[in-house]
């Protein structure tokens, strides 16, 4: 597989809850090593899409191809083992366990065909904990740590699985601006080091702009725009989705003049 080849293909993915089309024929691709921002206002279908891709929800329609393998009908644990993982918007720590144990679980399970012997898995877990900067908290119970640390832990947990693609679901939710900045830097560093492809889900534009190579915009379950951050931010359809028609008209006029 070449340097910039496609690692994930989402084709015509749909999820209907009765009459509600939570996700409506969404298609896009992720290339190896890319960070693709997935944005849209609240309720646009971003988390539903994530649940579809990782096998948590059954699909109404559509296919997902991971490295040319059709994973549309696999169970979540199988998809995780192949190398596609996700974090949760509302963190799901393994309660009752420590930070280190949480990351260890990711290290032990996670991608298949790795050395999952306890000793080596533990080593791997500890390295990742160091990488994200949680070393001082590694023996704390997850019920005793702060939200930003929980987010870091979930990130570490997912990294310990040694995935190729990560869906980061609104990892910035609940963080203050300084924490958001730190998190962005961490994600960039990690992507560099681990050669990951990331689908970065956010509904805050600013967080996504500086970090994504490309952006996909969802609204009411449909993909409305796809392009570079620059293209997307000036697109009237996007502005309309976030801010309403009147602002969009303003942008159109600015674009026409410029």
């Amino acid at each position: 597989m070449g340097e910039n080849s496609t690692i994930l293909q989402i084709k015509n993915l749909s999820k209907h809850f009765g009459a509600l089309k939570a996700v409506d024929e969404v298609s896009f691709e992720v290339k190896k090593g890319e960070i693709v921002g997935l944005i849209g206002p609240n309720g646009a279908g971003k988390t539903t899409l994530t649940n579809l891709v990782n096998g948590t929800y059954p699909k109404t329609e559509g296919k997902v191809l991971f490295k040319d393998l059709d994973i549309s009908n696999l169970k979540p644990y199988q998809i995780a083992r192949i190398g596609l993982t996700r974090t949760y918007q509302v963190v799901k720590p393994l309660t009752g366990m420590t930070v280190e144990e949480n990351v260890l679980v990711g290290s032990l399970f996670g991608r298949e065909n790795r050395d999952s012997e306890m000793k080596n898995a533990s080593k791997r877990a500890r390295e990742i904990i160091k990488l994200v900067g949680l070393e001082s908290k590694k023996d704390s119970l997850v019920s005793d740590i702060t939200l930003p640390d929980l987010k870091k832990m979930e990130f570490a947990r997912v990294l310990a699985m040694e995935p190729e693609v990560i869906f980061l679901d609104e990892v910035m939710a609940g963080l203050n601006p300084i924490e958001v900045e730190e998190a962005s830097i961490l994600v960039k560093e990690v992507r560099q080091e681990k050669d990951l492809s990331i689908v970065y889900i956010e509904h805050i534009m600013k967080a996504v702009m500086g970090i994504s190579d490309r952006i996909v915009v969802l609204h009411h379950g449909r993909k409305i725009v796809e392009g570079t951050p620059q293209e997307v931010v000036n697109d009237p359809a996007v502005v309309e989705a976030y801010l309403g028609k009147r602002y969009a008209k303003g942008i159109k006029e600015v674009n026409n003049e410029g």
């Binding site: 948590t56 979540p76 995780a80 393994l94 009752g96 366990m97 399970f109 996670g110 947990r157």
Partner: protein, 320 residues
């Protein structure tokens, strides 16, 4: 290995050795009581791995005890020696756990608990009615061992002790292993566990099979020991209730909890029985309520909390 661990292992070995020689100092009655304690500890460990560690309460687990007992009884009535029947009993129980578990463990906790109650009741009814094979509601006998009574009950004492030690050790190593982490993750957050690559159905089924294995061997030993078993006795819902209470009071999700709990409950029963004969049901009910209100984490859990709080306080002092 840290010094703490070495000390603990040393203490445990001493405890086992003491237990081995204990019968010399006790009357036959007490030897039998302690044998029962060992047996309940084993059954409680079966509940512990499922509920304490994995979060799925097998309320009907007594069915494996009964299956172990009856396969042993039937096998020996056909002339098979005990040591041959025991593995058969275990295998039968494991097969049941897998066949019944696969469809039911897909569902979440509530349904599993109820389904196991239903299964246990159904199996009980079958055993009660299949009179030709099982002797029906009147029960069935096993070959009596041709030795002096004291030899017999010492034999079963040691056998149950061995079973308890093996069960507890096995559980200890299982929980420390990768599989053990899988089980604990299911209790912690089953959705997250799935997304992390844990095949939860596989873990649940295997855990139940392990539970069935040890519980059924306890049943097998019990049957041979008693020489006579009846369906109401070995499929009794009170076995499940008692062992759940034992797990709770000892501390669910701890390795030694069930053993401690078995001692506490059985010894209390011994003491309280004569005093409260007419009220023993209500007393048990009240005890359950007291345990849940005051010691929900059981003995081991409460001690654990206490130790942790002391560590925190000491830590605070040191850092200042």
């Amino acid at each position: 290995m840290s010094n703490n661990k070495k000390v603990n292992i040393f203490l445990l070995i001493i405890a086992v050795v003491l237990f081995i020689f204990l019968p010399r100092f006790l009357s036959g009655y007490w030897v039998r009581v302690i044998t029962t304690i060992f047996m309940y500890a084993v059954i409680a460990q079966g509940i512990n791995i499922m509920s304490g560690y994995m979060g799925y309460l097998p309320f009907g687990n007594a069915m494996f005890f009964g299956i172990g007992a009856y396969v042993t009884a039937i096998g020996m009535s056909k002339g098979l020696p005990f040591l041959v029947v025991v593995p058969l009993a275990a295998i039968t129980a494991i097969l049941f756990s897998i066949l019944l578990g696969l469809p039911v463990l897909r569902l979440r906790g509530h349904y599993f608990a109820i389904a196991t109650i239903g299964m246990s009741a159904a199996i009980l009814a079958v055993v009660q009615n299949a009179t030709e094979i099982t002797g029906g509601a009147m029960g069935t006998t096993l070959p009596i061992i041709d030795k002096a009574p004291s030899v017999v009950y010492n034999y079963f004492y040691l056998a149950m002790l061995a079973l308890m030690v093996i069960t507890t050790l096995s559980l200890h190593f299982i929980i420390k292993s990768k599989f053990g982490f899988g089980i604990r993750s299911i209790k912690a957050n089953e959705d997250a566990a799935n997304s992390m690559g844990i095949n939860t159905t596989y873990h649940k089924v295997i855990a139940w099979a392990i539970s069935a294995l040890f519980t059924s061997i306890a049943g097998a030993l019990y049957a041979y020991w008693m020489s006579f078993i009846g369906p109401d006795e070995v499929f009794d819902v009170m076995i499940a209730v008692n062992t759940i209470v034992i797990m709770l009071i000892g501390g669910a999700g701890s390795i030694l909890g069930p053993i401690i709990g078995a001692f506490i409950i059985e010894l209390f029963a011994e003491v309280a029985w004569s005093a409260f004969l007419e009220y023993h049901l209500a007393v048990l009910g009240i005890i359950i309520i007291i345990i849940v209100i005051f010691v929900p984490k059981g003995v081991t859990g409460t001690i654990g909390d206490f130790v942790k709080r002391r560590k925190l306080r000491v830590g605070k002092k040191v850092s200042i």
